[in-house]
């Protein structure tokens, strides 16, 4: 599914599109623990997180993750947006809880990494 479809399913807002909105995403991984994210081996994934700090962007950069969804309306700082811009990472945000966001996307067809 594309990021556009993900945005529609969750009524998410685009904080930074970085030309990624039509990119195909097959898998999702949800975590607030960045070491967990760094331990997975997957491509074409979106990272779903309730954590909002520069290390989330760095973690995505190192893991070749090209889109991040922040749940529960987390505040994303200009520093985070700047880092994401440099690394070509799209940033989305929705108001739903982590559980609801993951549930909706699972039903819509996004697959787990394992």
């Amino acid at each position: 599914m594309t990021l556009r479809e993900i945005i529609k399913h969750l009524d998410a807002e685009v904080l930074l599109d970085n030309n990624q909105l039509d990119r195909d995403i097959k898998y999702a991984f949800a975590a607030d623990l960045m070491s967990d994210v760094l331990s997975i081996d997957a491509s074409e994934i979106i990272l779903i997180t309730g954590l909002a700090n520069p290390q989330v962007i760095r973690t995505a950069e190192m893991s070749d993750i090209s889109s991040i969804l922040f749940v529960r309306g987390k505040r994303v700082t200009p520093e985070m947006t700047r880092l994401a811009e440099e690394s070509g990472i799209a940033l989305l945000r929705c108001r739903h809880s982590m559980f609801k966001s993951c549930g909706e996307l699972y039903v819509a067809g996004l697959r787990p990494v394992f």
């Binding site: 760094l38 331990s39 760095r58």
Partner: protein, 138 residues
Amino acid sequence: MEFSYDIAGGDFSRAGAASSEVKKILKQLNVELAVIKRVVVALYEAEVNVVAHAADGVMQVTLDSASIEVVIRDRGPGIPDIALAMQEGYSTASPRVREMGFGAGMGLPNIKRNCDSLDIESTVGVGTTVRMVTFFNR
């Protein structure tokens, strides 16, 4: 080729800057993407460890056509029991480190998984040296 980057302890806003520079260099050298990912994940966890646990450090990178060697040397408390620190789940990280999304005791295991050889030397009260080597074609 050799490169060197300073790492400031405690400065979570800059953590990852050195690993990010190394990633750019490896991309320019057209190293295979899967290999780049392994290298930079290991470097980033090691860089975060300096930020999280030490006062300051230096990342020294030596590159040739076949491999990358990275030595991260820090001044800090050192690691009293390296075998224990290597165990998944062992962590002395502060609440502040946990707020940043680290501190679950997975860093050193992540590093070990992602490089071809790993050596850690540490002197309590002085500091820690982490040496990682990864080969490009294996």
